[in-house]
């Protein structure tokens, strides 16, 4: 990498596009400071020993929320780890920086793998970096999870394509395992884009596998399909409980009204700026990038069809993605017509992957169009195009109004002092809870029936209680929203205390025998979580086997033709 000057410049541009974030505490966006709050919650759970927290204990004024069961955890997990060394704001900014670099490098690697032409790869990398949807995903929408997912998409695609084109089996195995890992991380970053990104990766993997099978390389084709299938398996640790407990929340609120996909379709004209080119700032305005890509693709096909013909597949993908965001695709998003089609909220999210496939097409088209020119001429053209893209598209997009840290809750206590859910429609509020609490919980204990609470201590989602049950059947109500996963461990006492759900959707401790109980109430792993963890471990084992197949630890037996010394 160090010897590839174009790649270094690309990384520098990625860092440059991130730099505005470095100058401010935080920034104003649609997501406000939600990511900060979520990361603080993850970090506070991490500090009490929960490696994969599922419960946000300070949301809803301390009543808690199963937020992390349903919300993709990768961004919070990475940022929370970084909070050990820096502030929560910088932790999130560093995750964004990683995403910026991954977008550029991933697209560069993808196009370089397709064309072996560094100028074209550089231009494609820049095109994706300046994509208005990708940039404004951070600077306007503030959706860092979606941004991370669309940043990892080119990485996963590049690794899958590189594996399919690699002759040496050892290298191909490494590439496949890395592809599956980046794909899994994409799914863990953003569920919706993870799903639609998986479909895009799946199409590319199927096309690559078909190419391998066509040449008689069936084993390689099957290996790439296996690696692709393992990625959702690795992410099952998150996906399984998220799917299993959907019905126990208010997730039905999404997919209706403002969140109904059919109400979020926009005409083609919406992809182009309405006012001045240099001041327009709308994440949907990807039209200019698509137009440049289309022009260079046509030029490439006209001048050098043989080299540029691969671009057609990428354009089919681009057109499918762009058309699916328009009113003409209304039938596709109709409820009940296609499985999972409602699982998008806003179809315009697909403009993110569309700009990636268009950037790849732009790269391949450029490589074909300028293949016969000298290196200096090609570099000159690419530098000119890069300057135009950076000046016209990136310049207005790469900034956001600053927000001072003082206005943002920065500790679990501060989060707990308000009614925070970090969602618009309280979609993760347990369904058993009749309404959003009006005020924060004053104490852990809300009621005691024939019981005296001697001592309580709370550490994130771990609560320690000493309770004297005055008679058999005594109960104590806790200011904690009930949800599958809550457990009670009786450390000492005359009998085992049990948990159930009270009439207001809060947890209730029951004591079958009179006496003093020392208890720990905590949010643990659910059966679906265990199933998901098992699937993830199994997928990791399969990837491990894929890595070691053919190595000295797992030798492939010689075929009889080779063993006899003669070959086929």
């Amino acid at each position: 990498m160090a010897s590839d000057s174009k790649l270094l410049v690309l990384v520098a541009v990625a860092v440059g596009l991130w730099t505005p974030l470095a100058w401010m505490d935080w920034f104003s966006s649609h997501e406000q400071a939600r990511y900060v709050l979520r990361t603080l919650e993850w970090a506070s759970e991490l500090r009490v020993g929960e490696l994969y927290p599922r419960w946000a204990s300070d949301f809803y004024g301390g009543y808690g929320s199963p937020f992390f069961i349903f919300c993709s955890p990768a961004v919070y997990a990475m940022a929370a780890l970084l909070t050990s060394a820096c502030s929560v704001f910088w932790a999130l900014k560093l995750v964004v920086l990683g995403g910026m670099i991954a977008s550029g490098v991933g697209t560069y690697a993808l196009v370089f793998g397709e064309t072996r032409e560094r100028n074209a790869a550089f231009l494609a990398g820049i095109a994706y970096l300046v994509s208005p949807y990708r940039l404004l995903d951070v600077y306007e929408r503030g959706d860092l999870s979606e941004f991370t997912a669309i940043s990892l998409l080119p990485v996963a695609l590049a690794l899958h394509r590189a594996a399919a084109k690699e002759a040496v089996p050892r290298r191909a195995s490494y590439l496949l395992v890395a592809a599956a890992a980046s794909h899994a991380l994409m799914v863990l970053s953003h569920t919706i884009l993870g799903l639609w990104g998986t479909i895009i990766i799946g199409l590319v993997v199927i096309a690559s596998a078909a190419g391998l099978a066509w040449r008689g390389l069936w084993r390689r084709a099957l290996r790439s399909l296996l690696a692709f299938a393992c990625a959702p398996g690795v992410a099952a640790v998150y996906l399984a409980p998220a799917l299993a407990y959907r019905e126990l929340t208010r997730l039905q609120l999404t997919g209706v009204g403002h969140f109904r996909p059919q109400t979020q379709l926009y005409p083609f004209s919406k992809l182009f700026p309405e006012g001045s080119l240099f001041s327009s700032r709308n994440f949907m305005e990807v039209g200019l990038l698509l137009a440049v890509a289309a022009f260079l693709t046509c030029l490439g096909l006209a001048l050098n069809f043989r080299a540029g013909r691969h671009v057609l597949g990428w354009w089919v993908l681009t057109l499918l993605l762009v058309v699916s965001t328009m009113p003409i695709a209304s039938g596709f998003w109709a409820p009940g017509r296609l499985p999972l089609s409602q699982f998008i909220d806003f179809p315009w999210r697909l403009l993110g992957p569309a700009t990636l496939t268009a950037s790849v097409a732009l790269g391949i088209g450029t490589a074909a169009a300028f293949q016969r020119l000298g290196e200096d001429t090609r570099s000159g053209i690419v530098i000119a195009l890069t300057s135009v893209l950076l000046g016209v598209i990136a310049f207005p997009a790469a900034s956001a109004p600053a927000v001072r840290a003082e206005g943002i809750p920065r500790s679990p206590q501060a989060i707990r002092s308000g009614i925070e859910s970090t969602t618009d429609v309280d979609d993760y509020l347990p369904r058993a809870v009749p309404a959003v609490p009006r005020s924060p919980a004053k104490a852990l204990i809300v009621s005691a029936d024939e019981a005296t609470v001697a001592h309580t201590k709370s550490d994130a989602s771990h609560h320690y209680l000493t309770i004297d049950a005055n008679r058999a059947g005594a109960s104590v109500g806790l200011a904690l929203h009930a949800f599958p996963g809550w457990r009670v461990s009786t450390r000492s006492g005359p009998d085992q205390a049990t948990l159930d759900t009270g009439s207001t959707g809060l947890l209730r401790l029951n004591f079958p025998t009179a006496g003093q109980y020392r208890l720990k109430v905590y949010y643990g792993i659910t059966p679906a979580g265990m199933l998901g963890s098992g699937l993830s471990v199994l997928s990791l084992v399969v990837l491990g086997l894929l890595l070691f197949h053919g190595s000295r630890w797992w030798k492939v037996p010689l075929s009889s033709s080779l063993d006899s010394g003669g070959g086929a």
Binding site: A167, V168, R170, A414, S559, L562, G565, A568
Partner: protein
């Protein structure tokens, strides 16, 4: 041809084979990999005055090379021998068609080329090159290990914080150890108080830096006189006092020497306040 030349020829053939594979031209890819395997074996042909005496044809010389490799503890010689015998006589233009070559054999030959290439690189690399490789590896691994160690250390050594009281939850004591001077722990109006930093393990202390509060854009709060006390298991082992002179919107820090060993807790007391109340933006124990 010297071993180095043979290795260079083999690497050229491997790169050619990989490029052909990328283009889907398998027959020629196989032929170039066969060429690479033979070139790699040529790198192992013993010097003329040693064991290669009597081996006249290239094939005989490569058989000698296989013996040398076996003596050099090359793992799984039968696979290499089988792969070599399968491609012994093939020139690029005489390569067998892809359909005649089963995928399993193709992969097996590619694996042997790769394995022998790695082995040859390691064996033929001069001591200086191996040393340079190890240094480069260390240069890559060391910063990563250092960062991981720092993160773990920071996680491990971050003190638990408690305070006598706070102005509000938005100004909790944790904000005095969050590495962010924009956030502050504030005491209630006109109240003296303390903040305790309890370490996870006893540690030595050399000094304490107190960054004063000023209550964001209001600039109406500041600690005045302060006392810092180090405790070893609840026994006071060192103490020092200091004073902030004014409320300032600029960063105001006080470096106080506090030398003690086996410190389990540091208490910073606000003995007087300026403006509406005291507090700290950061408390750093060195």
């Amino acid at each position: 041809m010297s071993a180095k030349e043979s290795l260079a020829r083999a690497e050229l053939a491997i790169e050619s084979g990989r490029a052909l594979f990328r283009e889907g031209i398998l027959t020629e890819c196989h032929a170039y990999m066969a060429l690479a395997l033979r070139a790699l074996l040529d790198a192992w042909v013993p010097a003329h005055d040693a064991a290669a005496d009597g081996a006249t044809t290239p094939h005989e010389q490569r058989e000698q090379a296989l013996l040398t490799l076996a003596r050099s503890k090359y793992r799984d010689m039968p696979r290499l021998t089988a792969a070599y015998h399968a491609v012994a006589g093939e020139a690029p233009r005489e390569a067998r068609p892809a359909k005649a070559l089963r995928e399993r054999d193709f992969d097996c030959i590619l694996r042997e080329v790769d394995r022998l290439h790695q082995f040859t690189l390691r064996a033929l690399a001069p001591a200086e090159a191996r040393r340079r490789f190890r240094i480069r590896l260390a240069l890559v691994i060391a910063p990563i290990a250092l960062v991981i160690a720092m993160i773990l250390m920071a996680q491990r050594t971050r003190p638990r914080v408690t305070a006598s009281t706070s102005y509000a939850d938005l100004y909790a004591p944790e904000l005095a150890v969050d590495f962010l001077e924009a956030t502050e722990w504030l005491l209630p109006d006109g109240t003296e108080g303390w903040i305790d930093l309890a370490f996870r393990a006893p540690r030595s202390v050399r000094s304490v830096t107190l960054v004063n509060c000023h209550n964001g854009t209001f600039v109406d709060r500041s600690s005045g006189k302060v006392r810092v006390t180090a405790f070893a298991n609840d026994k006071s082992v060192a103490s020092v006092e200091g004073e902030f002179s004014e409320i300032s919107s600029e960063r105001a820090a006080l470096d106080l020497p506090l030398v003690a060993k086996d410190v389990t807790r540091v208490r910073v007391e606000v003995l007087s306040t300026l403006g509406r109340g005291g507090g700290f933006a950061e408390v750093e124990v060195h």
